[in-house]
Assembly symmetry: C2
Homo-oligomer: 172 residues x 2
DNA sequence: TTATCGTGGATAATTTTTATCCGCATTAGG
DNA sequence: CCTAATGCGGATAAAAATTATCCACGATAA
């Protein structure tokens, strides 16, 4: 059982985007630089977040990414599912009916008890992730982390965020 | 996030072994046949269960595998960890300190909040798995599943289990 | 003594993950 | 209008993990 590295990157990016002001955006290349990641591959994950409605993207110069909704309404589960896909980690292959002494299909209408138990545990996992809001992550970071780190991150965001032309959306 | 197919196989095998009487064993080849799996590869997973102390193995003709302790004291977590390894699914790569503006190491003594949140969810997952006992799985199967399936499985176990020479261990 | 079985290592096939690249559409700024 | 910066999507490749097979070996029941 393993989570791809993209999950870590995606969450860090989302947390960083939570720091950009108003409708401003931050280019994917800047975030790749901030975390020492390959820009082209990070874009793949950011695209996944965009496709899931977690991020918004703006093309063109001074384009980039921003959160599609307030950090209060983005959970770690949202991000994990966007990057890793919505399928459960445990996939029942119905090997119970793959043996040589196969019965009629009507003998297997009830779901496999093993699958039920595994999926139940996975619901607990997702429930816990759903309780972690991005805003909590950011708030804890701001209050708990080393002040130097916080300052450095804020400076980075300040330096790389791109204000947007006044569209109808809110402006900081 | 994906679990290997070996987990499903391992749990089904363990559940089947819960049905063998006393100190009797069941050969890996029989279980591979029962579930339509490649015998050589299934053996790998059964070995992992043996190495973790979940199964016992007996070499020689009329050898095979049996549970190393009562099914009441084997949980799904035991099996999942044995097959998938004990490492958490989320591994913090500390990408927060991999950017170009690295700070002193002392700025990163506190664990990354993202990692903390992810690991907390994983503890919930494992706790849920730890509450599923193999004996529960088997009991539910016996009472809920289609009687034809139960009968077929019992017959299979009956046919393939190998009684052991009277060692000091209990005998059915 | 022989045949059956688990053990462990080596190896290969397959799939997934990670990563790179290029052409395209969009758009801010001159 | 032109240019350059940026995201988007697809194709492709490199790397790693998973899945699968095989063989030589030790153990042991018959």
């Amino acid at each position: 059982m393993k989570l791809g590295e993209g999950v870590e990157a995606a969450i860090h990016c989302a947390a960083m985007l939570a720091g950009v002001e108003g409708a401003a955006t931050m280019p994917g290349a800047a975030m790749a630089e901030a975390f020492g990641l390959s820009p082209s591959y990070l874009l793949k994950h950011l695209n996944a977040l965009t496709a899931s409605g977690i991020l918004e993207s703006v093309p063109g110069p001074s384009g980039g990414f921003r959160l599609a909704r307030p950090a209060e309404r983005i959970t770690l589960l949202d991000i994990v599912l966007a990057v890793e896909g919505r399928e459960p980690a445990f996939r029942c292959g119905e090997i119970r009916q793959r043996g040589p002494a196969r019965l009629d299909a009507s003998a297997y209408v009830k779901p496999c008890g093993i699958s039920v138990a595994m999926l139940k545990a996975e619901r607990a996992y997702r429930a816990a992730l759903a309780e972690s809001r991005l805003s909590d992550i950011v708030a804890d970071y701001m209050s708990d982390a080393d002040p130097r780190s916080v300052a450095a991150n804020c400076a980075f965001v300040e330096r790389h965020q791109r204000p947007q032309k006044s569209s109808s959306t809110k402006q900081a």
